[in-house]
Every structure is written in structure tokens, then in C-alpha cells.
Symmetry: C2
Subunit: 232 residues, 2 copies
DNA sequence: CCTCAATTTCAACGACCGTTGAATTATTCG
DNA sequence: CGAATAATTCAACGGTCGTTGAAATTGAGG
């Protein structure tokens, strides 16, 4: 994590203060909070420094730039998600495809559901970030996406899903709509449909997965297992 | 359109220059371009003025603030959409529900499909705008949404759609996923799935509507009319 | 031409921005 | 202790921002 600046000359390396006030991990935490609150452009180095209760210049000691901070944040946040999904997508898993897809959606909910700011930054950066940032995000997303593709392909092989599914598009639909539900339903349910936000959220998640499942299943007349939505 | 400043005293009103250089409509055009390119926060009054080739202060002569410009933009952009949708949702329209829903999606494509910046601003402002802006957007969106709700409700009555549909959620799913396709597929298709963007866009629209239709139709085994996707 | 009002420009305010180089503090080793 | 080094702070640069009040420009009515 400690980056470029410290170039030690010889065996005299463990000299200076090791943990004085501010750990880079603390800076990342502060950065995540500020990014989440203000977005990538709105988040100033000075605001991150205020949040971390340190001097703005210190951030440049630990990170090359604001963009580098965001990349570090990505590298901290995304791999755990990929690992959970990779376990879920293992071909030896013979649970019903509907259950596996639902569980995959729960992984995204667990890691992204309560961090609307980070979702927004991620979405904004893949649209408008620098080329380097777009590439970095794409690599992380692809690793996740491959798991969903695998689950869908196995579902087709096992006869659970329509054989003519566009696998990669379908994976996009599943995940992206959950993200949109997290983002937008709380913001618009009360204003547009006059439904309390928390109530709308649960309703939307369920309605979406039912619609999705009916859309992809080989035998849509066969309903979802009723215990599905009580799985944590 | 001309706002507060000009308070004329008597019959001496048609004195000064009437159309000198900059019409407020031109300012709105410039604002739309800049909002689209830079987002709501990123778009500076100075940048809008540069785009309109006028002085920044002139903008404050015609509009109370940047937010007021955005509201004026909304009031110009949204009503034509609502009018097209309201015509489409008229109960006397007895076309197949699938066709009506597809046409509704084409209305959104027509007005939003080539203006990714405005979509982004709209989405951003309903999440993070001021209360006044959120309310204004919600009013416009609700007027549109009601049309989609009506088409879905008529579809249920006519036996085209599942009777247990969550109408308002379903309308959200339909439209919002098209928007996400416009936004994200071009940005991620090449990087993540290695598919050319323009090709992916067409594929995604079709795949989404097929999944959606199968998810909502009363008889999903009955396929969509094949001519659907050749309707302009 | 002159007046007067509608329109447009100018100049400036204070604030915040990302970044950098030099100076300062804190800690460990000899 | 004193030197060396890691961690941190300070002060400043040039820049952009939203906004405003005063000044200048424009054009029609008299």
C-alpha cells in the first residue's frame, strides 16, 4: 500500500515514525465517505482531508492523485465480491438455478445495497471517468460478470433456462436492474407512486425477480420456489 | 420566458433593443449542451456563456440561477413526450399490448436515446438535486408514468398480461432498463463483453423487450409478433 | 437628435479547487 | 544525545467558480 515516495538507500530503513496519526487505510475510508456523499468530481481533496482530520498535502504523500485513491478503493472493495460470486458459480453447485441467481443478487445487495454513493460513483466513472479508470472498473466488473454468465450457462445446460437466452445481456439485466432499484426506488417511490420508500423497495426486489425469472425460465408456468424470498 | 428584472413603469415600454444578440432560447440550447457534456455540477455558468458566446452575467439577467435554467429546460423537453404517450395510452387504442408497450419504449428512445448527457443529468438530479428540482422532475415523470400504467392496466383487463402484475413497478422496469441500455451498453459492451457497441445496443434492446414481454405476458409461450422489431 | 428602457458587458468579490516544494515534526538507530 | 529518515504540515501558485452592482451599449419613441 505504501507507494512511491519512500526510496530507502540502505539498511537504514526502519527509522522514522511508523504509525503516527494517519494510516492510508483511514484515508481510504474517509475518501469513500466523501466520494459517496459528493461524487467523484464533487469530492475535493480538501474535503477528504477534513474528513480524515489531516492536511490535504498528506494525501499526496500516500496517493499519487485523486484518481489513484479511487483505484485503491476499487481494489479494496471489489475482490471480496468476486470471491463470493466465484464460489456461487462453481459448476459443482447443483442447486436450482433460480436460487443461485437470487443468491447472486443478494451478494450485490450485501456489498452495494447500503452504499448508494459508491454505486453512483462507480456508474458515473464507467461513463465519464478517464480511460484508465474505465479500464480498471471494467476489469473488476468483468470478473463478477463472468460468474453470472457461468450460472446462466449452467442453467441452460441443465434445462432450467430458455436455450435461446442472450447470456451476457441477461446477466446485465439481472444485476443492473437490482442496482437501479436500490438507487431510484427509494428516491421516486414516494414522489411518483405515493408508496413509502422502504415498503416499495422490498416490493420492487420481489416483483423484479419474479418478472426476470418468468422471462428467462424454460418453464415459466412453474412458479418460483416459495421459500426463495425468505432465504436471507 | 422573460423573467423578473424588467419592471416597466408606464406606456414607455417598447423602447430598448428587442432582439439584440442572445435569445433566452439560445441560452437554453447552450445550457443543454453544456449540462449534457459536463453534468449539473460540472456545468459552470461561465462554460454555458462561452458556449452561447455571451457574457456570464447575461445569464443572470434571463434566469434566476443555474437551477432555474434546468427547470426551464425540463419544461421545454418533457411535455412533448407526455403528449405522445398520452395519445398512445388512450383506451380507444385496441392494438396488441405488446405493440403499445414497444411503441412507448420507442417514444423514450426518440426523445432520450441520443442525449445521454441529459439522461445522466435527469437521473443525477432526481437523486441529488434540491427538493424543488426533485419535485419538478417527479411531476414530469409521473405524467409520463401514468400513461405506461394505463397501458399495462388495459393490457390486464384485455387478458394480454398476467393479472397479478405490479403495474407501477413493471412500468418502472420497462422504461428504466431501456434507459440503462442506452447509457451503459455502449460504454461497457466493448470493454466487458468484447462486442462492438452499436451491435450490442440493438441486440440489447431486443433481448430486453423479449425478456420483459415473456415476464409480463399472460401467455408467454405465445411469441411476440415477428413484425414488432421492424416497426420503426 | 435626444431620451429612456431593454439588453449586454465589465470588473471585481470571496471562496474553493488540485497540486507542489520547502519546512517541520516524530521516531528509531547508532 | 545526535543523526537520519518517515510522516506530516505550511504556505503558496494559478485557476475556476457563482454572483453582483455599476457601467456601457443598443434601438425605438418622441
Amino acid at each position: 500500500m505504501k507507494p512511491s515516495p519512500p526510496k530507502m538507500s540502505a539498511a537504514l530503513k526502519n527509522r522514522g515514525p511508523k504509525r503516527l496519526k494517519v494510516d492510508p487505510e483511514l484515508l481510504l475510508n474517509a475518501a469513500q465517505r466523501v466520494f459517496s456523499k459528493s461524487g467523484m468530481n464533487g469530492a475535493s481533496i480538501r474535503a477528504i482531508a477534513r474528513e480524515a482530520e489531516c492536511d490535504p498535502a498528506l494525501i499526496y504523500y500516500h496517493f499519487k492523485s485523486k484518481e489513484a485513491m479511487f483505484h485503491a478503493l476499487l481494489d479494496r472493495k471489489m475482490p471480496p465480491i468476486a470471491m463470493e460470486l466465484e464460489a456461487l458459480a462453481d459448476p459443482s453447485n447443483t442447486e436450482p438455478t433460480s436460487l443461485r441467481l437470487w443468491r447472486a443478487s443478494r451478494v450485490f445487495r450485501h456489498y452495494f445495497g447500503e452504499d448508494s454513493g459508491f454505486r453512483a460513483v462507480l456508474r458515473g466513472q464507467i461513463l465519464n471517468g478517464t480511460e484508465g479508470t474505465k479500464d480498471a472498473i471494467a476489469r473488476h466488473i468483468q470478473r463478477n460478470a463472468k460468474c453470472n454468465w457461468a450460472i446462466l450457462e449452467q442453467g441452460i445446460e441443465r434445462g432450467h433456462l430458455r436455450a435461446d437466452l442472450q447470456v451476457r445481456m441477461t446477466a446485465f439485466f439481472l444485476v443492473r436492474m437490482f442496482m437501479e432499484i436500490f438507487d431510484l426506488i427509494p428516491a421516486i417511490a414516494e414522489r411518483i407512486a405515493n408508496v413509502p420508500a422502504n415498503q416499495a423497495l422490498v416490493l420492487a426486489e420481489r416483483a423484479w425477480f419474479e418478472l426476470f425469472w418468468r422471462g428467462v425460465a424454460a418453464h415459466p408456468a412453474k412458479p418460483l420456489p416459495p421459500e426463495l424470498f425468505s432465504v436471507e
